[in-house]
Amino acid sequence: MTAASRKRFLQIAPAVAIIAFFMLAPLGLMAYVSLLQKGVNGGVVWDQHTTEAYVNFIFERDLDDSLVLNIDYLRIFARSFGLSLLTAVLALAIGFPTALYMAMQPEGRRNLLIFLVTIPFWTNLLVRNYAWILLLRNGGLVENLLRWLGVSDQPLGVMYTPIAVSIGLTYSYLPFMVLPIYASLEKMDSRLIEAAFDLGADRRRALTRVILPLAMPGIAAGCILVFVPALGAYVTPELLGGGKSMMIGNLIQGQFGAARNWPFGAALAFALLAIVLLAMMVYLLRFRRAPAVP
């Protein structure tokens, strides 16, 4: 190692050490906790090692110590997966046209629009979710609006359903979809769209053959940025789902809280992490393999 490169290494070493410590230490602790015996009143017994937590995820231990298949937790995972997927699809359906519209605006107005898209972030997440309760509850704003428009005079009945959770999640994570797509559309040469028109592509085909393929990295990044946090969401399913449509985040919280089963909570968190990493790998394989030509 030359003097110069050693100096460079020493200069970045503190940052690397801090990142490594604050990422690896909690993860290592969680991994360790997931392999311990749960304590009777919560917490863990630090010297009793067991894989019981991972077994509990799929099996239930009967009174005679035989294992019985229990898909309750898998069902919660599947529901979380489905709701997150729905959220990502809804966010894409709303986010892509928004991002496209923003990218088509003159320079000055674009910055204003980015500002507007990020404004909800500055409001507390709890406050935003309570606002949705006021909108969606029976006798709430949306129901009254529908009644006034003559569309329906039935109670809305959306509150405390998976639909309410998905609406809330879509709203919360929409900026994560809009911004990466906008970034990929914004650096696209507008002459490419003109070239597509010039060569006989109508609006639909200019969209499908030129704009969408070029926006694909942004779309993929946006989908992951929405899907991953939605999968682990806690506040929105708690408030808008009313605990009836439990998601992974609520399940984990419950293990560390009321259920007093820390090892199981930690094991669930690792299962979630595995799913997230899988999603990331799919993204990397699909969109980063193309040679980066300057």
């Binding site: 070239a195 060569l199 053959r209």
Partner: protein, 361 residues
């Protein structure tokens, strides 16, 4: 008579409104013939690109109409016009291969796959890029990208090809090559080319006819020879090649017209240049290579030699006329023709009537 390939009638284009309104194009009319290499020449901001974009359908005119072979194009979007464009930045689709780029237009027209494949090969041969079909545009050099852009625009056999300063990003040597290449493509395909450039040399070497534009208006349309030899406006004479301007007053009109120059001398004018009322103040234009330097005392305009610049094939003499008006004479350095003049020497400038152009402004 066959309808012209492109006809513009009273085209105007205004961007913005009110006080900030910019009149990019102001009541422009022109006719571009079938199979013609037509150039729109002018400095940046003269409206030449706006005119091209109006023909292509990328902008809608504020007033006036564009006709393609007699059919009005007004309101038709670009994808419904049988006109293709080669963009300044090429605008090749980066996610498609060279072959897919070239086939794009045919695919949009719904041509069968076999025809598209055959046409791609044909186009690659035409632009001399055989074997490049599976490359991505980013893997090509600027000159190769230029050829792909041309092949893509020509593949669906448009009636008119628009070229928006396509050579400006290339280096000098490549640009010269592509000038010849473009001319060859135009002749081989028989497609009407409308070419936009600010490079007067490019315009003179490639065009069948050209239009010189300034400030949203067309100043003069003609063949390269007409534009160079017979400029009608001061801007045209100045923009294309070098020109000497002489302020004068018509002394005798009609045949045998004479112009009394501000510098004191007089010049005989021929028919066209002399067709002005007696007493009218006029500006005369004389190309540097059309004037002759004679010994002092000979008949003509007395002048004093300033700088003498040797340019290899020819020599430029920067003279000053009696009233201080600068006047440039260029002579070819053919055998024995070189004048041996020192700075400060007194000479006479002789200008034949045929070398004199009377300008309209």
């Amino acid at each position: 008579m066959q309808a012209p390939a492109i006809e513009a009638r009273g085209l105007s284009k205004t961007f913005g409104a009110g006080q900030d309104a910019v009149h990019a194009l102001d009541d422009v009319s022109l006719t571009i013939r079938e199979n013609e290499f037509f150039t729109l020449l002018g400095p940046s901001g003269c409206g030449k690109t706006t005119l091209l974009r109006l023909i292509g359908g990328f902008e809608q005119p504020s007033a006036g109409d564009v006709f393609l072979r007699g059919q009005p194009l007004t309101g038709l979007p670009p994808f419904k016009r049988p006109i293709n464009t080669v963009f300044q930045s090429y605008a090749l689709f980066p996610h498609l291969t060279v072959g897919q780029n070239i086939a794009f237009g045919l695919e949009m027209l719904g041509r069968p796959k076999e025809e598209r494949a055959a046409r791609v090969e044909q186009m690659l041969a035409l632009v001399k890029l055989q074997g490049y079909a599976n490359r991505k545009p980013a893997q090509l050099s600027g000159g190769q990208q230029q050829r792909v852009a041309l092949a893509r625009a020509l593949a669906s056999q448009p009636k008119v090809l628009l070229l928006d300063e396509p050579l400006s990003a290339l280096d000098l040597k490549l640009r010269k090559e592509m000038q010849i290449e473009l001319k060859r493509l135009q002749t081989e395909t028989g497609i009407t080319f409308v070419f936009v450039t600010h490079d007067q040399e490019e315009a003179l070497t490639m065009s069948d006819r050209l239009a010189v534009m300034e400030a949203g208006q067309i100043l003069q349309i003609g063949s390269p020879t007409e534009i160079y030899e017979h400029p009608q406006r001061r801007f045209v004479a100045d923009f294309i090649g070098e020109t000497n301007f002489l302020e004068a007053r018509i002394e005798a009109a009609g045949s045998g017209a004479v112009a009394r120059l501000a510098c004191g001398g007089a010049l005989a004018l021929n028919g066209h240049a002399g067709a002005a009322a007696s007493g009218e103040p006029v500006t005369l234009a004389v190309r540097p290579e059309r004037a002759v330097i004679a010994a002092a005392g000979a008949e003509g305009l007395p002048a004093k030699v300033g700088a003498v610049v040797y340019l290899g094939t020819d020599t430029t003499y920067h003279l000053t006329l009696a009233d201080g008006t600068p006047f440039v004479v260029r002579t070819q350095n053919s055998a024995g023709a070189r004048l041996d003049l020192a700075s400060g020497a007194a000479v006479t400038v002789q200008i034949a009537p045929a070398a004199i152009q009377r300008l309209a402004d």
